[in-house]
Structures are given as structure tokens and as C-alpha cells.
């Protein structure tokens, strides 16, 4: 009996905690995104000069860069949860990894989409086989692979572990893939240079960009915790606390 209770303990206690946190994350999301968008559209210059002149379209940066950052960060977080699940065999961490994946995939797609819409006016093309674009595309495929593998396996325990292993393999490969795309000719790798430098960016633009990043981060918290709650309910439907929760919830309605 004790063992059984321990097994259910962590999802059971995490479920209400997540429920209390989600509204907080939603309000933070709305506040940060509103501030970020206001600052980005009304407190910045219309035209950028310098070596890389940009017109109004540079304002795509306020979603493009945060989406790209979040897509990579979420993949890392997802793999960390998956690895914790594999090592300690904790079910909640597998659910966490699975809850993050769709949000991460959406941000990866958005980074590609907004990048295309920025690339068209500034480079003259929607798509270019630029290293960063290509690696982002590969990252998108990795997310899709993770979700597809999880969806294809009926046994939840096996699906969790198999997808987790795939995510880990993907993380090991990401640097190799990135370098192979970034530097297809190993004879000329010395010519690689850093193209962006945060300290050179105008303060107002940087402020808006970072605020938007924080906003999307809070959004990711909110959506993945909501998804996690759903996953917990689905998987623990046999547990006593879920039955009590349902009775309670039905009375409330």
C-alpha cells in the first residue's frame, strides 16, 4: 500500500500546484507581451542605419529572435526532463518532456515562418540555405520525430522511454549537425565569424526583444503546464485522487 501511495504521490501533489501556477504565468505572459509589443512598435526608430540598413520590417525581430531562442531552449529543457526520466524512472518527468514538445515545435515553425517574412524584404528571398535556417529546420524535424515516435507507440511506458532516448540522441547530434551545416567546407572553417552581437543592438530594440522573450517563456510555462495537467489526468484516471477530483469538480459545476 505504502509503495502504491508513493508512486502516485508526485503527480497528485503536482497537479494542484500547477493549477495554481498557470494563471500566474498567463498574466505574466499577457503583461510582458503587451509591454514588449508596445515598446517594439512605438519606442523604436522606423529605420536602422549602419552597415546593415533595415526599414520597418526589422520589427519582425521582436518575435523572430524570441521564437528561435525558445525553440532551442525548450528542446534542451525537454531533453533534460527526458534524461531525468530515463535515469530515475520518474513518470512525471516523462510527462513534462512530452508536454513541452508541441510548444517547442510551434516556436520552431514560427521562427522559420517569421524568418521567411523578414528574409524576403531584407535579403530578397523567403528561403535561403543559410546555416541557421537549415539547422532550425533540422530542429523542427527532431521535434516532429519525437512527437511522431511517441504517438506511434501504444504502450505509454515504452513510448515515454523510446521518445526520451530519441531526444537524447538528437541532442548529441545537434552540435554535429549544426557544424556540418555551418561549415560544409572544412578547409575554410577559419572564415566563420559571429554575426550578431547583443551589446551592439540599440537599447530600445534589445529591451523589447528581451521582454518578448520573457513573455514567450512564460507562455511556454503556461501551455506546457496546462498540457502536463491534462496528461496527468489522462494517465492517472484510475487513481483515487483523480476520482475525488472529478467528484469535486462535477459538484462545482
Amino acid at each position: 500500500m505504502t509503495l502504491n501511495w508513493f508512486k502516485f504521490a508526485s503527480p497528485a501533489s503536482f497537479y494542484p500546484l500547477a493549477g495554481r501556477l498557470i494563471p500566474l504565468f498567463w498574466s505574466l505572459t499577457v503583461a510582458l507581451v503587451l509591454v514588449g509589443l508596445y515598446w517594439g512598435f512605438f519606442q523604436t526608430t522606423d529605420h536602422l542605419g549602419g552597415s546593415n540598413p533595415q526599414k520597418e520590417y526589422y520589427r519582425i525581430i521582436f518575435v523572430h529572435v524570441p521564437a528561435a531562442w525558445m525553440s532551442m531552449w525548450l528542446y534542451l529543457v525537454m531533453v533534460v526532463w527526458a534524461a531525468i526520466g530515463l535515469v530515475f524512472n520518474t513518470r512525471l518527468s516523462f510527462m513534462m518532456a512530452k508536454a513541452i514538445a508541441p510548444t517547442g515545435a510551434i516556436f520552431t515553425f514560427l521562427a522559420l515562418w517569421t524568418g521567411a517574412f523578414w528574409g524576403r524584404p531584407s535579403w530578397g528571398t523567403y528561403w535561403d540555405w543559410d546555416p541557421r535556417l537549415t539547422s532550425e529546420l533540422v530542429l523542427f524535424f527532431l521535434y516532429i520525430g519525437y512527437m511522431a515516435l511517441h504517438a506511434a507507440i501504444d504502450d505509454i511506458r515504452r513510448a515515454d522511454r523510446a521518445a526520451a532516448l530519441l531526444a537524447l540522441v538528437g541532442l548529441v547530434m545537434v552540435p554535429v549537425i549544426y557544424w556540418s551545416i555551418n561549415c560544409p567546407d572544412p578547409n575554410q572553417c577559419a572564415a566563420l565569424h559571429q554575426r550578431s552581437n547583443l551589446t551592439r543592438i540599440d537599447g530600445n530594440i534589445l529591451f523589447s526583444m528581451l521582454t518578448m522573450t520573457l513573455g514567450l517563456w512564460m507562455y511556454s510555462f503556461a501551455t506546457s503546464l496546462t498540457r502536463l495537467r491534462g496528461l496527468i489526468l489522462e494517465r492517472e484516471s484510475e487513481a483515487q485522487w483523480v476520482r475525488e477530483l472529478i467528484e469535486h469538480g462535477e459538484k462545482q459545476r
Binding site: F41, D46, H47, K55, E56, Y57, R59, I60, V63, H64, A67, P102, T103, I106, F109, L110, W113, T114, F117, W118, R120, P121, Y219, T223, T226, R227, R229, G230, L233, E234, S237, V242, R243, I246, E247, G249, E250
Partner: protein, 55 residues
């Protein structure tokens, strides 16, 4: 206001990018809502079935 919408003639690109972001994020939120509602109804039905079976 129209200045804001036209974004110096680049409105299509700026709003095309922001529009897709808004669209996908809202779609994700709606999908999560619907999914949650399905889970609750299914769990409720499951409970009632189980209760009926026990009695």
C-alpha cells in the same frame, strides 16, 4: 493609425509574421482548452460507468 498598419509599406511582411504567431499561439490555446474539456467529460463518464458497475 494607417501609418502604423502600413509600416512604411512593409505591412504585409510585418503583419504576415506577427499574424502567424498570433494564429498559432491562439490555436494552441484553443486546442488545449478543447482537449481538457474532452478529458473531463471522458473521465466523468468513466466514473459513472465504474460506479454503476460497482453497485
Amino acid at each position: 493609425m494607417s501609418d502604423f498598419i502600413s509600416q512604411g509599406g512593409f505591412g504585409f511582411f510585418v503583419w504576415g509574421a506577427y499574424g502567424m504567431v498570433a494564429l498559432l499561439l491562439v490555436a494552441e490555446i484553443i486546442q488545449l482548452r478543447l482537449w481538457q474539456r474532452t478529458i473531463w467529460t471522458r473521465l466523468g463518464r468513466l466514473m459513472r460507468m465504474r460506479d454503476a458497475g460497482v453497485e
